[in-house]
Every structure is written in C-alpha cells, then in structure tokens.
Symmetry: none
Subunit: 224 residues, 2 copies
C-alpha cells in the first residue's frame, strides 16, 4: 500500500493519527524547525502555516526547498486570508499552492486526494537513472556504474538539478536559483567552481563527464 507522508507546522486541532483511505495510507506528523521527524518512503505533502508576524512560514518554506530530504515535497501554504501579495510571496518562496485556512483534517485530505488523483506529479521521481549514472534521491546517493560518487551536499543538489533538466542549457543564474541560493546573492563565477568540483567527484568514481560547457552561456547535462 502506498504511503503518503503529510507534515504540518501548526496544530490541526484534531488527532494526528495515521489514516487509511482508498489505496493510500496517510501518516501525519508535526513539522518542526529541524524538518520532519520521521520519513517514510513515499510522496510528501507539507502544509505550512503562514504566521505573518515573523515570516516563519516563508522561512520554513525555503528551508524545505533547500533541504535535500524535503526538496521534492509538495508544499501548500496555509494563509489566514486571501491576500494576493501573500500568495505571491508564498509561491515565490517555493510553495506549490495555497489554501485559505484554518485547516481541518478533511480539508487536508481533500486537497491531497484531489491533487493526487489529478496526477499532479509535481514531485520528482525519487530515483533517477540515465546510462551509467543513477541518483537515489531518498538515500542521497549518486552512483556511476554502481560505484558511489562521493558528493558534498551542494554538489548533490547540483547534480540533481542537472538530472531534472537534461539536454538543456542552464545558465549560471538558473543554477544558482535552481539550488535556492538567491539570498544572499552569489557571484556567478562561483558556479564554475561548483561544476569543477562536481566533475572531479564524478571522475574520482571512475565516471565520464556528462557536463558540457556552453561557452558564454552556461552548462548542459548531456543525456544522449
């Protein structure tokens, strides 16, 4: 049976017991500042309260996107009222959509089931394979012909982003914002160093060089 992980920042007011419906088992958990407590294999849905006063909601949203374990979660912002400006900021912070609170358990389930059945395959596949390269998103491990590639967090994110956008020239700006590093602003030339380190790590695992430089534009992950 498929498991769907649901995380909430705020209190739901109702019980957070696991719940079975249709083909799916829903597990509920509280989402603290350190990310999710437990993590079961399966799609993740996060409902983040807005909490306007200290912008904790937006911060949480960015943190989810930056954290490799939750980067592919579907993030729904829970707004207190329907303010267009808030919606925009929520989406810019990385949220996938929003609802107007307060949240009830049925509202959560309705939303998840609705998007789920609409085939909203927003979240990336947890596993990626292309030729000799394989990336296990859950284990945070990349391999070349089965040989582990020793990657530091940033390099893994970079490789992941390339794998999600194959055969497409990515500018340095694309890569910076793609890794969620708009703040503080990063020198574009730093991307060159990322690329160099990633290439070296792949090479050290006996791999080739799937990253092609496109002069004066950026880089491409060549997939055939």
């Amino acid at each position: 049976m498929d498991v769907i992980n649901i995380f909430l920042t705020g209190e739901l007011g109702e019980s957070l017991d696991d719940f079975v419906h249709d083909q799916h088992r829903f597990t509920f958990d509280h989402l603290g500042p350190d990310g999710p407590r437990r993590l079961v294999e399966g799609p993740m849905w996060a409902f983040v309260d807005w909490v306007m006063d200290d912008l904790a909601g937006l911060e949480m949203c960015r943190r989810l996107r930056a954290d490799l374990r939750t980067a592919d979660a579907h993030v729904t912002m829970v707004l207190e009222e329907d303010d267009p400006e808030d919606r925009r900021r929520a989406l810019r912070a990385g949220a996938d959509d929003y609802v107007i609170g307060p949240l009830t358990r049925t509202a959560v389930l309705d939303r998840v089931l609705a998007l789920q059945s609409r085939g909203a395959e927003r979240h990336a596949t947890r596993r990626f394979e292309a030729g000799a390269l394989s990336i296990d998103m859950a284990a945070l491990q990349a391999r070349w012909n089965g040989e582990p590639i020793m990657l530091r967090p940033n390099e893994f994110r970079l490789l992941r982003f390339f794998a999600e956008n194959p055969n497409r020239v990515l500018t340095r700006e694309d890569l910076i914002s793609g890794l969620g590093k708009r703040e503080p602003p990063i020198d574009e030339r730093t991307v060159d160093v990322w690329i160099g380190r990633l290439r070296r790590a792949i090479k050290a695992a006996g791999g080739g060089n799937p990253l092609r430089t496109v002069r004066s534009i950026g880089y491409v992950f060549d997939l055939n």
Copy 2:
C-alpha cells in the same frame, strides 16, 4: 532587468500595462492569429483561451508551437471548466499546463511567478527541423541527419537567425543587427567570414550548403 513577455488571446478585463515586480518586468500583449505583435528578448508566456466552439484555442496552441519565434513559449490553456478530456487535448496540442478561468491579472502573475521561481522545467522541446537540419534551442545544439554540428557561439546564433528567417534574403546589416552586434559597429565584410565558418562547420558534419549567396545583396537560408 529581466523581461518576461506575456501574451493573451482573450480579454483580461483589466489593463494590459507593463508591470514591474521584483527582478522582472512584465510586458503584456494581445496574441492574434498572426502570432505576437512585438517580441522582446526574454521568456515568453502565452495564455490561450479554450474557445470550444471552433477549436480556435487548440489551433492557436499548435500554431505557437510551429512558429519558431514562439516555439519555446510556455503555453497555458485557460479552460472554462475542469473537463479531463479538454485538459488532455490541450496538453496534446502542445500546452504546458492549464488553469480554470476566468483569468485575472493577479492569477496570471501568480502563475508565472510560481513556475518561474521554481525553475519550471519546460516540457516542450524547443526544436527546429528542416530537412536534414535540426536545431535544439534548449541544448543549443544543431545536427545534420543526427550528426552534431560543432558550432561556436556566434556561428550558432547565426544559424539560428537564418532558421528564424528562412527563404528570405538577409543583408549583412540584417545579420549584424540580428545577432545584436550593433555596438561596437562591425565591418560588413566580417559577415562573409561568419558565413564561411558556418558553412565549413556544417560541411564538417557531413552536411550540404543551405546558405546561398545573393551577390551584392546578402545571403539566404534555403528551406526547400
């Protein structure tokens, strides 16, 4: 500042003035049957009304994909109601996604900003094909019968410009300004060297010579 072109087929009911937000400048324009009126360098987003009775929406969608100038636009279909069959046809016609209308300006901006900020991977392959020649705008790679043509940046831009203006004599001045090299002023004879280098690169990939010289005028990209 980055410019984002937004085109709409229907009326928005609100003003279509240019709009500045964050790092981007949004320019709005009406999208007629002959394609966009004006075209600024930058990403393009088209919102196409469904208009069920004469299938004009689908036709517009296909036309956008076929037109090289708009082939890489992000096309959003505006449905009147959430009909799964319509959604499927929209996506098959080349749309990237869909919304349920009616459209408001804030809805448009929300959608663009959301996808923009997440580095929305484009599903549509930006691609141009003419006989043996194919140009992948996303990977910035040209091929002749599948054989990669090794092009330097300027040569690729040149080929791209020719492909965007086939069967039309382009003066050297057209080419210079078409590649955005007005400053500093460039000697027109330099274009001859560009042409030579481009021809040689195509030939090296086993290709023919699609570039015909029009004496004392310029050059044509012959397409059939």
